[in-house]
Amino acid sequence: MSATHTKGAGEAAGGKAAAEGSEFHPKVIVFCCNWCSYAGADLAGVSRLQMPYDFRVVRVMCSGRVDPEHIMKAFSLGADGVLVLGCHPADCHYIGGNYRTRRRIPLLKTMLGQLGLDPSRLRLEWVSASEGERFQQTITEFVGHIKALGPSPVKQVVDQ
């Protein structure tokens, strides 16, 4: 599958809007698996690690529970970025849920590209329960990336 991350016409307009505004606070949806990533997020919180607050966590029992439809719906309702966090390969509590997710994400990225959204607005990462620092780094880096991209072109339609 093509790994090219091209910006659509809508993306360029979104970036311009961000540059004109004061400060852009993106709406990032983070799907966290209950057994690893959510515990990692908890550890990051307990460890008082600093990170941007522009994200909303959705706890799911497994990253495999995150249906492609959920991700598309998040984008169509105005999410600027979607991050799916699951257990490391071979560590899934349900044996192979994260493998299913790994299969779906490239297709979703292709689909986002076809819709004119930057495919890098969607990302899949593995974070275990002991990786609070990795959770913090992932969130910081991803939110920074979304801020650089600007608001989602879909968001402008939703806001109207």
Binding site: M1, G10, P68, K73, S76, R104, P106, M111, Q114
Partner: protein, 128 residues
Amino acid sequence: MKKLSERMDAAQEVMDGERVRWLLGKKIRLTHEENVYGKQIAENRYELILANAASAELERKLILREIAKQPKSAVEVAGALGMEPAEVLRHFIALKKWHLAEDSGERDGYLLFRAVPVKAPAEGHKGG
């Protein structure tokens, strides 16, 4: 920009659709096991098939949306969606095959197509 939200809705339908889900679910079987002819699909070929299927499905969902309200010809739909009329016609043939679209007369020498209304599931049926 309204088009983008419509395309997002169509993409949601694609992801919820049988064809893409089937292909995603069969990845291991298709790429790691031999088929009845003793052949195996290479990973990159599988990904190409999947991407093409998703792309075709997205176009078909958009076409169905166009012809849901009133019958339209391939040329009219192609003009509205920015596609080639021949490509739209190819999709119409596939949609007719799957009973998702049907003929609806003709206008100015062009065949008109309309979407077959999807039957709502019977009330009270919970499955299982």
